[in-house]
Amino acid sequence: MGGKKVAIIGGGVAGLEAASSLAAFGIDISLIEKEEHLGGHVSQWDRLFPSRRPAKEVTGHLTGRLNEKVTVHTGTEVQKIERSGKSWDILLNNSATIVADALLLATGFELFEARKKEEYGYGIYDNVITSADLEKKFARDGEIRNAQGKIPERVGFVHCVGSRDEKVGNLYCSRVCCVTAVKQAVEVSEMIPGCEVFCFYMDLRMFGLDFEALYKESQEKWGVHFIRGRLSEAFENQDGSVLVKVEDTLAARPLKMKVDLLVLMSGMVTSSGTKKLVDMLGLETDENRFLQPADRQLRANETGIPGLFLAGTCTSPKSIDETISDARAAALRIMEYLNLPAPTLTPSPNWGRDGEGAGTNNQ
């Protein structure tokens, strides 16, 4: 089978999909993940936009597609990477070494540290939380209460926290926060009948096919209010409620409002794992510190270094379906690089419906 080996750093959505895509062609995969669990950020989410399917469905599908060709190293980090000829020598922090013919970086993103947007008071005011905090409340608690244990009567969502913002050095849009806010607004409305929900946005980026329908549903079915104004400041009142200041730009009037819970839609930033590899490998990053591929349209999974590939949100913010497509594209590029002859299909679980498409099997 050629005995080719590929190492993948990052066991989130991109890493998992690339692993199973390559393993289906008989390639040995070492999947290295620093957390104890696979699935990255998606494993921490409750339900996903736009359909609100459980996140577990997606992570379950992705991990389920891993076959015996994939060796998983969770709770493991990379200590050193060296090149010898065409192969990569990867020293792990448990002293094991992996030798690979190609290396794929799928080190993903981290959420913007909301406390850096000082005027919103995250980490200072108890009822200011992030979208990730809220999602944990959905997943773990099944209910929402504020810091005083009260069920909120009014919830505010703040779009663009840490994105499109020169003041924190992130000039880009994080792409998925708008639709996440609308999804969470709907979920809060579902969970707390009669709760007033406000979204404070600059632009509503409903780019995916069913996103606009979700937005429409949020308005028609749930009465979510959309105010076009970027949050300027939040403050905590004596009773713990949060006072917010925005301009309702469509009415051209400043507006002050009290909410019981304020949810900050933290954007995506480059991960610390990526930063470590940038230093280790001398990689190029763009002005927003995401990894810079060889060409964002035509060679989005390649770097300038032969044998080193990129997949997922380490190069730019993406939705889950985009990440999966990108990971498969990376897998195909790696296959080209490894210069395999005619592909050999090995059946992998969850391939197509009812086990069909189990593959032309020319062993």
């Binding site: 406390r115 200072i124 905590e236 006072l243």
Partner: protein, 357 residues
């Protein structure tokens, strides 16, 4: 509220404050309305801290108030500022300390402009030479006088005779801090603690035993607004801003307001009086106003200076109730006397504001 969250931010916004050898430039507003404060600043620095601080007799206004009222062009202000720097250079100093916050903002803005537009700096040098024959070096360190009190707050606490504690209840005094807008809003990294949670005054209150009170409109401008006060027809804006702050802080029951800008204490002091006359509303306890202090006045209290040397008699809102709480001794009979104890008249009593005579 989680104070630990603020502490993280305070650590991130620290700036270099020189140790000694300061070139001091006065504030137009403070000289006129809070003369005791600048005198106290120099006394603390020279006599308590043993510092070398110099005041050049030829220095003038930086024209900040005129600039922000837009009656002078930017070039004029920049060149006047260049002249001030020239005086500093001639006197052999490198550490520049303005007493006014608008000045502080102005100096930073000008230095930043010269940094981004070196041709503008060149032009100003030429204009200064043409007008006065002077040349200048830029300061190595530029901080506001409140930054220096902040830097030496521990030393002041050690020499202190009083703490900011209510001697009747044993509780720390509840003090609201108000930072001048031009201290950190223009360049957050030029302010200790940054623009959102500045520490330059909170640090003093904490170090000297008081309790810092935060409230929703803390960051709101006091309302000076330059032309919005200077012209009588506009004063509604100015008083409305101050009133908004008073109404916001009222539920938190502050016992004093601490400020570091020349205009802010002036407006907090006088607008409380005006509101009491116009609407019969007062914001302190029991028909009194909330005493408004400059940071030098607060330091002076802690060090046990005579309140009338500090200049409390020039305040409209009486400070005596606060002094009584702390246990600062003072002689009411000497409040309005002149330097040698002579009678120099006294103000009339305000109608609605409880006024100590």
């Amino acid at each position: 509220m989680n104070i630990e969250g603020k502490k993280v931010i305070w650590k991130e916004y620290q700036k270099e404050i020189a140790e000694n050898d300061f070139f001091y430039v006065r504030s137009c507003v403070r000289q006129s309305f809070f003369p005791g404060s600048e005198t106290t600043f120099l006394k603390i620095l020279r006599e308590e801290l043993g510092k070398n601080i110099s005041e050049h007799p030829f220095h003038t206004t930086c024209t900040g108030i005129a600039y922000h009222s837009d009656i002078v062009p930017f070039e004029t202000t920049m060149t006047v500022i260049a002249r001030q720097f020239a005086l500093m250079t001639e006197a052999g100093f490198h550490n520049y300390v303005p007493s006014c916050i608008t000045s502080f903002g102005m100096y930073n803005e000008v230095l930043d402009t010269w940094h981004h537009f070196p041709e503008v700096e060149k032009k100003v040098r030429r204009l200064l030479k043409e007008a006065t024959g002077k040349e200048f070096e830029k300061p190595k360190n530029l901080v506001h006088s409140s930054d220096i009190i902040y830097k030496f707050r521990k030393e002041i606490a050690e020499k202190g005779k009083f703490r900011l504690i209510n001697r009747f209840t044993g509780d720390p005094l509840r003090i609201v801090e108000h930072i001048g807008c031009h201290y950190a809003k223009i360049f957050p990294n030029k302010g200790v603690g940054g623009a959102e949670y500045p520490h330059v005054l909170a640090g003093l209150i904490e170090e000297w035993g008081g309790e810092v009170i935060d409230y929703p409109e803390r960051r709101h401008c006091c309302g000076f607004g330059f032309r919005q006060y200077l012209v009588k027809a506009n004063r509604g804006y100015s008083i409305a801003c101050s009133q908004k702050k008073f109404e916001s802080m009222k539920p938190y029951k502050p016992e004093a307001i601490l400020t570091n800008c020349p205009g802010c204490p002036f407006f907090f002091d006088r607008w409380q009086y005006a509101i009491s006359e116009m609407e019969g509303v007062t914001y302190g306890e029991d028909g009194q106003g909330i005493p408004v202090l400059t940071y030098e006045e607060l330091a002076g209290i802690v060090l046990g200076y005579d309140p009338w040397d500090l200049g409390f008699q020039t305040h409209q809102v009486p400070v005596e109730p606060l002094l009584d709480k702390i246990g600062i001794p003072y002689d009411p009979a000497r409040k309005y006397l002149g330097k040698n104890g002579e009678n120099i008249g006294k103000p009339e009593i305000a109608s609605n504001l409880k006024f100590c005579h």
